[in-house]
Structures are given as structure tokens and as C-alpha cells.
Amino acid sequence: MIWVAWRFQRTVLCALALLALVIIAFTIVSGSVQHHDLSEFMHAPCRGMQIATPGRGDLCGQLAVKLDNAATFNPYIRVAGLVIAPLLGVMLGVLAVASEVERRTVRLAWSQSISRTRWFAAKVGVGAFFVVIILVPTAFVMSWWNGAIGSTDLFGRSTYVIAGWDLVAWGLFMFALTLLLGAAIRHVGWTLAAATLVFLAVAVTFPSTVRQHLVAPTVQWSQPSDKTQGNSLVYGESDSPAFIPANAWIFFSGIALRSTVGIPTYAQMNAIDPKVYGCINRYPHKTQSDINSATDKCYKKFDVENVVVYIPANQFWTLQLREGLIYLSAGIVFAGGALVLIRRIEP
């Protein structure tokens, strides 16, 4: 039966595998070129324009332009990375069930000496196997590429999925979802449309509503005068009132009442912020020391502290694992639902 499932999906599988190979090859080339150019730029006398090099500006500028040019295709690679998993899952899913039911070839298959459960298991097994086989190297290359081009943004909408292993879970989720939709709708076109809508809905709402709750955020309170290891707090700068860890996913950064329960909100901060800074401004601030002193006094007067709420970069893989497990669990439920529907279909 595995042969039957493979033969049925062979053409689309080969086309999608070829597409993935092209994306992988292009991504490797792009990543290698940009990594080389970035390294060259950072090792130039200007150290990536961090050091002023009078008389050597042309070289640095040329390297910067070269790096920019090499990054021209980055948006396309990100889009390809975001699209390949759902595309693969949807195409294989729609082919596995909706297409067979619509073309009525299930009448041929289901009148042979095999059960519908076995028929479905073979379809799911072959489809899921190829989703994994194609997406694991894709995810690996995408993750490498994100690092190779010097991207430090791990949690951005266009980065998070392609920077980790959720690409594979995404593909399996969409595959199972399309199996379920195909078994319910039984028409290729409508199944594709419904799968696309669900994909967009999940892609838009999941990061903003679910993802941030998958890992307990770190809440860091600090007085203006506090020092953190290796990172001094900046006095009096409203846009960076506290230490912000590198590459973290920041939910909140500002001042909040010490009595705040849970994660402070920007609305709460906006209520107290003018009072605190009004207080600070009433003190004489001829020197930095004056400002520091005024800030300390006003923070104590209003009982506020600097606070940053974030998910640190070292939680990235934990987040990926948990989100991936959610996709996989949902995928298993969808596949189970599809099987229930398939057993009821009267072709």
C-alpha cells in the first residue's frame, strides 16, 4: 500500500522536492556569499563602520555596498522559507484525500481488499515522511542562513519560523489540516482555499496570541542606580530605562509601580511616566550627577522602578520545541478527525 501512496503522490512530491532543492541551493549560495562579505566588512580597518578610519572611507563604503547587494534576495529567501512548509503540507494533503475523493478513484481503492484505515495510514505515512525528509534539510539550511547573514533577530515574525525547527512542525500541521479539510470538503479547489485561509489565520494570530505565553517571560526590576554585569543602566533615557538583553523578545520596557502585579502594560506606564519625569525635571540638573540624584529621588517618591519583561534568546529553542509540539499535537488530532470522516464517506 505504501507503493500505491507513493505512486499516487510521486509527481507532486518530485516537483516539490525539486523546488525545495532549488531553495536550499540558492539559500546556501546566498548565505555563503553574505557570510564572506560580512566577515570581510567586519574585519576591514573600519570594523564594520564601528571605527572611524580617515582616508579609508571608500573601502568601507564599497564593502558596505557589496554587502547590501548580496542581501538583495534576502526577502525572497525569507518568503520562500515561510511558504515552503505550508505549500508542501497543503499540496500533499490535498492530493492524499480531496483529490482522490473528487476524482472518485477512492471507489477503485476502497473496493479492493484493503481497509480505509490502512489506505489512510499509508497516505499519511508517505506524506508525513516526505514532509519531514524535505523540510528537515530546508529548516537546517534556513537556520544556518539566518546566522550566516548576521541576523540576530530570532523572534521576528519573518525570522522565527525559518530560524528553527518549527518549519518541519508547520509542514506537518498543514499536511494534517489539509487531510481533515479534504475529508470534510471533498473538493480540491475549496480545500485549497480553506487551507489557505486557516494557514493565514494561524500565521497571523498564533505569534501574537499564543507564542508569547509558551515560555514564562523574565521580569527584571531595577533601580536607576543599579548596575548589571557588563551593562550599565542608562540614567534618564526614557527609551532605554533599563538593561535590555541582547536578541531577546521584549514585551515591555519602561517604568512601573513596584506594586504592579503581573506584567506591566504600556498604558500603566503612560499613566505614571509624565509624573515621574515631571518630578525629575523640577530638580536642577546641571550635571549628570544632579540628574541621577533627581531620578533616584523621584523613583522613590512615586515608588516606581525600571522594568523589562522579555524572553531571553537562550529560550529560543525551548519556545521552538513547545510551539512545535503544539503543531504536532494539533496535526495528530486533525489526522484522527480526517480518519473518522474518511470512514464515513460514501463515495
Binding site: 500500500m1 507503493w3 500505491v4 505512486r7 499516487f8 509527481t11 476524482r103 472518485r104 478513484t105 477512492v106 471507489r107 477503485l108 481503492a109 476502497w110 473496493s111 479492493q112 481488499s113 484493503i114 481497509s115 480505509r116 470512514r343 460514501e346 463515495p347
Partner: protein, 300 residues
């Protein structure tokens, strides 16, 4: 009995496709399932093939309850769908490989021999085959699983007369080789007398006749007399159809026993005439026709 159904009913939302059908089909017969469009032939075959579930009643095939999950029983039943659903992009060879991998009792030599005799190229994609060739490939898949019961839904539809004749000839030969029971739904009543020995007539979702073809032909007669002869139809005859000309009246009747000439001109009707008379009949309250249920309603 190879097939037994009891009060079998299938509804699709508001439409009743099959209504209270009770059937018993003996083993080793080539059975014609005759009826107009929408009479429930395809629905009955799909229920028997385990593709569909009855709304009410039960289906027994070889003494076992047929269901969508009874794989062992389905292994003994070959089904040819009226749409001939085959994988369009596959080669004929791959279709046979599909059959081999999905049927434990698959006979590869039979399938290859059958298609070779018909000069069908094994490497040809299914989409390049003619309607007749497609039907033959589907038939090969159906028979090569070595079923004990073959269900054929309009096997000769959409074929030209030559292809149709060849297909029916093949079915006869395959039946002879396999010794399987065959249930064949057809619109073409002419096909019935050519290859079938048992007949079921469905009309308006009900079974109106289910009997041996020979018995059907023996038990029906055309009775003719002049319009003013004043002879009445025998009491135990069921009048199925009445035809009038300016001088003569003819009844197609079903007889419970041989009758005396008694002023009538008696002729044997063709199966075509009998079938059409049943198909034109009004819906009946019982699923099968009884000899006495019409009484003399059609008699003068």
C-alpha cells in the same frame, strides 16, 4: 445464497434511492439488474460492494454482513464502477501493480493475459486509452482479484456496438473461467437475454421482479383477442400491460400456471417487452411482485 438483503433502504438526505428492498440471489448466476435512471441500481451495487452503508435494513453477502469495514468479505467481491475510476496518469502496468498490492488473491497472469488478448499496451498511460480499453482495464482489475461475486455497474455503457459486444463476450468468458456469481446493472435490456440467467428489475427505488430469466420468460404471455370477442382474462393472471388497436386488444400477463387457449391468441413476449412493462408499472406497496396482488384490476 450469494446475496440476501432484508428491507434494505438507502436515503440521501430527502431522496430515497432504495426503498425496502428484499432480495435473495442464488450462487453461480449471471444476474441482470435492470431499471431506469435513478431506480437505485448503482446504490444497490455500492451497498453490496461495501462502499456505502444502508440507512435501514441489512445486507448479507456469502452469509456475512457486508459493511464498509469488512475487508475480508470485500476481498471476495469485485466491483466495477460505472465511472470506471482509474488513475489517469498511471500506466496500465501500474494499475495492475496497484491491484496486486491491494489484493492478496491477485492473479497477475490472468490480468496480463486478458489485456494482451485485447492488444492493450501495458506501458500506455490510462488517459490515452479509449473508453472500451479503459473498461477492459477496469474489468481486468475487477476479475484478477479472483472474486466470488462480481458487481458490474453498466459495464458496456458509452461503448460503440462492437466494443460493447466484445465486452459482453469477455464477461461471459471471464464468468465461465472464474465460476463467480455476477450481478450486472444495465440499461441495455438486449444485453440481459444475451448473457444473464437471472433478472432483477428495479423501478422507483423498489424491487419489482427478482427471478430466473427462464422462469420469467415462461411465466409471461401476450394474450390477444378481438375487441368485441368478450373473452375475459383468466382470474389468476396478472395484467402488466394493455395495448389496443382499432380491432384488437393485447394483454401482457403474468401467469401462475399454463392456461388454455380459450379464444385467446397466445404468444411469448420477449424479455424486452416484459421488462418495459414492469418498468412502466406504477409504484407498488410491496417490494416484490406477488402473482395475486393485481387481481383483475387490468382485466375488462
Amino acid at each position: 445464497m450469494v446475496i440476501e438483503t432484508e428491507s434494505l433502504t438507502k436515503r440521501f438526505r430527502r431522496r430515497t434511492a432504495l426503498n425496502d428492498c428484499s432480495l435473495s440471489i442464488p450462487r453461480g448466476r449471471v444476474v441482470a439488474l435492470v431499471g431506469p435512471n435513478g431506480s437505485g441500481k448503482t446504490t444497490l451495487l455500492r451497498l453490496l460492494a461495501g462502499l456505502s452503508r444502508p440507512t435501514q435494513g441489512r445486507i448479507s453477502v456469502f452469509g456475512e454482513e457486508m459493511s464498509t469495514s469488512n475487508t475480508d468479505l470485500r476481498a471476495r467481491v469485485g466491483y466495477l464502477d460505472q465511472d470506471r475510476p482509474l488513475y489517469e496518469r498511471w500506466r496500465v502496468r501500474e494499475i495492475l501493480e496497484f491491484g496486486r498490492r491491494t489484493n492478496p488473491a491477485w492473479d497477475p497472469a490472468f490480468a496480463a493475459r486478458h489485456l494482451a488478448l485485447l492488444d492493450i499496451d501495458m506501458e500506455s498511460p490510462v488517459r490515452n486509452l479509449s473508453g472500451g480499453q479503459r473498461a477492459q482495464v477496469a474489468l481486468a482489475v475487477c476479475f484478477a482479484k479472483r472474486p466470488d461475486l462480481v458487481l458490474l455497474d453498466e459495464p458496456a455503457s458509452a461503448l460503440d456496438p462492437v466494443a460493447r459486444q466484445d465486452l459482453l463476450q469477455n464477461i461471459t468468458e471471464l464468468f465461465a473461467d472464474n465460476e463467480a456469481s455476477v450481478l450486472m446493472a444495465t440499461h441495455a435490456i438486449d444485453d440481459v437475454s444475451a448473457i444473464c440467467d437471472y433478472v432483477i428489475i428495479l423501478s422507483q427505488s423498489r424491487v419489482v421482479l427478482s427471478e430466473d430469466l427462464d422462469y420469467v420468460l415462461e411465466s409471461h404471455r401476450l394474450l390477444s383477442r378481438g375487441l368485441n370477442d368478450g373473452v375475459s382474462v383468466p382470474r389468476d393472471a396478472v395484467v402488466l400491460e394493455e395495448r389496443r388497436t382499432t380491432r384488437e386488444i393485447t394483454y401482457l400477463v403474468r401467469l401462475a400456471m399454463p392456461m388454455e387457449r380459450d379464444g385467446w391468441r397466445i404468444e411469448r413476449p420477449t424479455f424486452n417487452e416484459i421488462a418495459i412493462a414492469y418498468l412502466r408499472d406504477r409504484p407498488r406497496s410491496t417490494s416484490t411482485l406477488s402473482v395475486t396482488d393485481r387481481g383483475e384490476s387490468g382485466a375488462p
